[in-house]
């Protein structure tokens, strides 16, 4: 395979001793389907249960047990396919992928091989200052395996099958990514889409979203090099690090005259390196064949259309709407739509108000403060109603921007109705020109030399503005102060 179109515009080449190299990345993301019960059994998918409690005799692969598919998992896969603008296959087939491991009691994983439920699609990402379309190769449904714990005993591994049989969507990208940043942006975007759709909670800490990262390198314009697959990387930060260290490792080998052998590797974040996971002599031979326990999965176009009708507004559409309806910059709109809850909060604040002002307060003040305290929008001490009221008070000229920040602080720590707080604590902006003139006159009278200088050095105006604001306790309307000062000082 040769792809020269993308390298022509690639600004992400990395230098080596023999010239520039291009990184090629493709990802297989495993996303746990949001469902109450497992793909082929009625046991619970809830996280953190006692060992082997969410396990039925189907999940434990007891003889004679038969799989029955969960209709909701099918719907979730179709919704995800639609969200990825992908072709939905009205007929797909479940296959057995055979291998032996203690946390795989069946001795095979039920997966989809030649006929997956979802075909080609695409995801748009913003990275490295440009918008890139990343191709989706396919999405298929499969079972998760159980969990082996190796650190409980020196000679034994402990096996818990709670995850065994939980539905996963494996989402395979095309090798369209050209840097660690792009790989990170892709997973971030994919996670956002899944969360909007409600088809996967995207919780990477719990392993509900994890990625196998395929990395190869080549000289620009040359055919793809041999790739290595880095298994089960479970954070966006590590995905970036894994791409960078693996690319560097491959470049070093190639520049020393070596060759890359296709293999599965593991990223060790502690050491900042990847290492070989499986020896090559035991090359994998999964011997896929159609699972005789399951008929092909078939549904109608009407079923797909029905699901499509109920899809929520997706992040790209929402971003475009925010820019159009509220006049937001692409950057602000992107920040707001990254999480659906944030976008909803913003819209509640922006409704019937100036969108830009609302965005400014939500992003800079509220998100800034939430981040600082490591809190979520869900437990924000300031509600959308309260923040909206603050924005109204500024827009109506009742308080200045500076006082508004103090007001925000009070609402954050003490709560209450912003308008009442302003009234009770005398925070109203002074727009009464008589009062402002009086304060200005006093300051000019107290500083005759500075007033004289200001005629020659107009930037002294700032000092006067500061003095007036200080004497008014920040409540004087800054525009009015500026205007009157200029008149009085003759600037």
């Amino acid at each position: 395979m040769q792809d020269t179109t993308k390298s022509a515009t690639n600004k992400n080449l990395i230098p080596g001793a023999t010239g520039d190299w291009e990184i090629i990345v493709g990802l297989e993301v495993h996303a746990q389907v949001a469902s109450k019960s497992k793909l082929f059994s009625g046991s619970s998918t809830a996280f953190g249960a006692e060992p082997n409690s969410h396990v039925s005799l189907v999940d434990a692969a007891m003889p004679g047990m038969l799989p029955v598919i969960n209709a909701e998992c099918v719907a979730q896969a179709v919704r995800t396919g639609l969200g990825l603008k992908a072709g939905i296959n009205l007929k797909s087939v479940f296959d057995r992928k055979n291998y032996f491991y203690p946390d795989l009691p069946q001795g095979y994983q039920i997966s989809q091989y030649k006929q997956p439920i979802v075909g080609e699609g695409e995801v748009e990402i913003d990275a490295d200052g440009e918008t890139i379309t990343v191709g989706i190769e396919r999405l298929h449904l499969e079972q998760d395996a159980g969990k082996s714990i190796h650190d409980q005993h020196p000679e034994y591994s402990y096996v818990d099958l709670n995850r065994s049989g939980v539905a996963l969507m494996e989402i395979v990208s095309k090798p369209d990514l050209r840097s660690a940043k792009q790989a990170q942006a892709y997973v971030t975007k994919l996670r956002t889409i899944l969360r909007y759709l409600g088809t996967c909670d995207g919780d990477m800490d719990k392993g509900n979203l994890r990625a196998d990262v395929n990395v190869s390198v080549r000289k620009p314009g040359e055919p793809f090099g041999t790739r290595c697959e880095i298994k089960n990387v479970n954070s966006i930060r590590f995905i970036g690090q894994a791409v960078d260290v693996e690319a560097r490792r491959q470049i070093d080998i190639l520049e020393d005259g070596g060759t890359i052998s296709q293999e599965t590797r593991l990223f060790d974040p502690g050491r900042g390196e990847t290492r070989s996971m499986r020896s090559k002599e035991e090359a994998h031979d999964y011997r896929y064949f159609p699972d005789p326990d399951l008929l092909p999965l078939e549904f109608t176009q009407a079923y797909v259309d029905e699901l499509a009708q109920h899809l929520p507004e997706l992040p790209d559409e929402k971003r475009a709407r925010f820019m159009k309806s509220y006049g937001l910059s692409p950057y602000d709109a992107s920040v707001l739509v990254a999480e659906r809850e944030n976008a909803d909060f913003f819209e509640a604040v922006a409704k019937g108000r100036d969108g830009k002002a609302a965005a400014n307060w939500v992003i800079n003040e509220l998100f800034g403060r939430l981040n600082k305290e490591g809190r979520d929008i869900a437990d924000s001490p300031v509600s959308a109603g309260q923040l909206g009221a603050i924005v109204d008070l500024i827009a109506g000229g009742t308080i200045s921007g500076k006082i508004a920040k103090e007001l925000f602080e009070i609402v954050w720590t003490e709560g209450g109705y912003p308008a009442d707080i302003v009234e009770l604590r005398g925070m109203k902006q002074v727009t009464d020109t008589g009062a402002i003139e009086k304060a200005i006159d006093e300051i000019i009278a107290a500083n005759p030399d500075k007033a004289e200088q200001a005629k020659l050095k107009p930037n002294l105006l700032g000092w006067f503005v500061g003095q007036v604001m200080k004497s008014s306790g920040g409540k004087a309307n800054p525009a009015a102060v500026n205007e009157i000062l200029r008149k009085k000082l003759g600037i």
Binding site: D59, S157, P296
Partner: protein
Amino acid sequence: MQVDEATVRRIARLARIKITDSEAQSLQKELSGILDWVKQLDEVDTKSVEPMTRVVAQDLERRPDEVTDGEIAATVVANAPVTEDNFFVVPKVVE
């Protein structure tokens, strides 16, 4: 179709079945015979025939997304040679 002995050993290994040298030789003959017998089907032209997936007209059975099973940890591990706190305990496997 001839299956060689190396292939027989590989298949046995993938299936985790231990076979002796003499078994490998007899299995080689048996498997070759089975494949030859099945190969007769190649004589039929199936280009325009859909692969058969069911004998009776039936769709894939689906169930609603409800928790109806599980919570039987003691039963699940009852046959395991070694357990601890309802974990299966197996010889150490680390990759």
